[in-house]
Symmetry: D2
Subunit: 301 residues, 4 copies
């Protein structure tokens, strides 16, 4: 099952179920369900999976439900028209770094940075606090380049959402935008590199865990478009991940009260060359066949 | 003006005004004021300082107000009795590191870590995400030692609270408890060292900015008590800070949407020797004459 | 299934399931369920009855659940101890009048009041707005006698709670306390007779509709105790009702947006003689074997 | 000072200050002020009048504020465009009846109804529960005619809003729409006559008490327009009121917990002839020079 959240003029946020090219408005007949967070909470209370819960709600609709063409909602956010938003209001976003083999290799080429190699080979992964809702952008909303950064990189990643019991309830795509020059200057600047306005986009859908056959075999691709030109294309497959999600969660939850609905971005396997730092007006497109296409314009802050 | 928040059985959180050894219940006649956060919000709306606002409310009390002896409220949290809580529900806590001369020197003695020296001499300070409310402890509530840390240090610090316009509205004391061994193993483990359950205590009071003559001339002392013995005593003065708060804020707010009520801990000038890692049952006491005494027991997680 | 709401020091309201002499704390393992209103909302969303929903939650408890002896919770409200509260936070309470044969007869004896006879024989029942939550009292909490009334009567009634689709989801007992002298002076004073502080108590339990074999065959009894003496005893059976609940609902919902969780009190079949006007310190006890015993002291306002 | 509430696409409700033909958006620079209810609450907390509070907020605007032409906002509610809403979200609306001399006389002509005369001459006024927010309509929103009423009358009235201390904080116009045939059939049907969907409109502005020189000398007029024709015109002046507001409040608050922000409609001095029962499509226009013009279409339910 593929879920989205969307904004409707005069009604605010609603939950949609993606069926082919169409989005069904789940909130219309279920006014208490305004967000995917509401679904997670209720699913936990009634001991159902999200899919079971939504199926039950859709099979017993009292009335016909509004359908939107997916492409109509997949548009630049504007209060005058319905549009996709973040697929869940994640209270916290955490990221992991150096989780792909290629990622460690490239970073290793940088002078002085044996710390990445150490993390790559250590039992303990690099976990970092990435974002809060006010710093995140949904589909087609701008991601940011800090005013004091000259080397900001896109990091296209598979991300998962955690439920009330710490279980993975679904998957989405995340762009862990990072001011690489700050982190390179000094690893103690990690949070300044990672946490700022527009530092994180995710979406477009949340695919429930039971709809992903193998989360370790997902193709992820990324394009950066500047003006009329595609200046970068890259791809990876989550089979290249050197860590399991169980491993990541084991460290994430260790003595750490993670709220339900938290998004975890699993690290990037696509390294954009340093000379392609994001610039104002670029469009970054991240795709996964099972999840969809997340597109965000770049805004110089 | 010195404010506290406190819990009252059957009523939840209320705001108190400290006058000498006494705490006056401000919420009793002002049921819309349940938290210091409410005061900040309303002060912003009516364009008053917190002090002006509270003065106005207290000068026009309709009825006599309950008074508590400070010592009665300064007790171990228990739902059956009134007690102090965090002096504000800070939506985010940020920390700064290597802001005192002595701090940089000591860290420098550690092998391999010139990164601290670099930060100390660089224009850009080390800013890190420290905590959210669910990870913070108020007066007399336990602070934590991670189950996977063998060297967890107390870091006693002056902290300030930010208002709706980014102004400093008041000061408190903060214990930036840190799993030093994790950060030493690899600086990419910074957030795991800093963010976990019970990683941060602050309080006991929030002293409004207009009541602190010179925030750069405050004595801060710290004691660690193990069993019957004081195993550590240290002190510093904020005159030893190598950064101004304006400088810290300049970096903190740069392209970063900081919510009102955020707590900023300004770095420690008291370095506890590594051999005195916190242990279960220790009591950490941090004091500043202008702010009061923050005492927390240590809990092994 | 028999539900209660109860207050717990430091935790606020929770939902309990009555099993024999014991109350199981349903909220303990289900922190999102704080009220019976929450249950109604979620039951509507997942298309289950309240009983199904609660059964599902109880069969899949992760951990053992606290049990209270019913008698321990059935006590005078005090913030220091756990105690029963209203069994649901009904956003509105509506009442119906002259629904029992005997009620019409007695009122008929009063001079000038043929309006009661007219209502009794008319297709349209008397429906009146009775109370909001701030005017209602739960078990053992005081009911009021207006300062300007010299003839305030207890009206013991069966009441039902309405769900999101207008269905009856459960039953409880209601004391529709009424300043009879005001209404007798002029029927236009009806709302002043009916709506004031402490004008309505209900509880102690909410018995789900599927646990009541025949709501038109319930024994209801009432006692008024003054000092050591029972000064009044009366009883009726809901078989004496001259209206069906479908009939009452048909008029209640006619062009009228009734919020879910609304309580409907169905009129009294027990008429207390006028010379037994409630007095400060009286205890009014209303019982129904299927629902329990609702006891309230009387407070002169 | 004249206040309105208005809806803005994508932003929800905001507060506006009417200055001549213009409405200034007070919420734009004061995001914590979304409703007039918020103003009432904060004014109570800081011990200011609403006018003082708003003046203070407007004199210290950080940035220029959006202005709307009043006529642009005074339009049929549509989620696509900004428009006026109820001028306050009154948690309860109470009405008073038979408060004008003429009102008593006319009712007296009806057969059997000496109860109106009795109320008129009695110390105790007729107070009735009139509406909750879900039953109220703002400017240009439809008022209702019950499906079972054939004689529904408009009752144009001056109304006031109550503050946290029971003081009158401002005035507006109210249309106490009433299914007169139900009340005439039996006074026990009073609440069915008065309380239903669309039974009450009020607005368009809330004029603060300090801006009304003499609330007992206000001209109120009413027109009913059917198709192209004005089928009714009437006027009165509040000098014809036979009760003071202090008197009404004295009875309203007697042992009755009235929530702040409650609207009190003071009874009608304009009696529409019975043969002019409201019909679907009629427009009812109520005006007072100091308050503005409240216009509502009629909808047959």
């Amino acid at each position: 099952m593929k879920l989205v959240q969307f904004y409707q003029p005069g009604q605010g946020t609603g939950v949609g179920v993606v069926q082919g090219d169409t989005i069904l408005d789940l909130s219309e007949n279920n006014p208490d369900i305004e967000t995917v967070n509401d679904l997670i909470q209720i699913a936990g209370t009634v001991r159902m999976s999200i899919s079971e819960l939504v199926d039950r709600m859709m099979n017993d609709q009292d009335e016909a439900v509004t359908e939107y063409a997916y492409d109509i909602l997949d548009t630049v956010p504007d209060i005058a028209v319905p549009h996709l938003t973040l697929p869940i209001f994640a209270p916290e976003v955490w990221g992991f770094g150096v989780t792909y083999k290629r990622s460690a290799q490239i970073r290793d080429e940088d002078a002085q940075n044996t710390i990445y190699d150490q993390v790559y080979t250590s039992p303990r992964p690099e976990a970092f606090f990435k974002a809060t809702p006010s710093r995140c952008s949904g589909p087609n909303a701008p991601i940011g380049v800090r005013s004091d950064s000259t080397l900001t990189a896109t990091e296209p990643e598979l991300a998962y959402v955690l439920g009330e019991e710490g279980e993975i309830i679904g998957y989405t795509l995340c762009n862990d935008v990072s001011a690489w020059d700050l982190e390179k200057e000094n690893p103690l600047y990690l949070n300044q590199s990672k946490i700022y306005f527009g530092c994180c986009s995710f979406g477009p859908t949340l695919v429930t865990a039971d709809s992903i056959d193998d989360p370790y075999n997902l193709d992820i691709s990324c394009q950066i478009i500047r003006g009329e030109t595609t200046i970068f294309e890259g791809q990876t497959n989550t089979s290249q991940l050197a860590r399991t999600f169980e491993e990541l969660n084991e460290y994430l939850y260790r003595d750490n009260p993670i709220p339900p609905g938290t998004l975890v971005s699993t690290g990037t396997g696509i390294m954009v060359p340093n000379e392609l730092s994001l610039m104002d007006g670029d469009i970054v497109v991240i795709s996964c066949p099972e999840i969809g296409t997340l597109s965000n314009p770049v805004m110089q802050l």
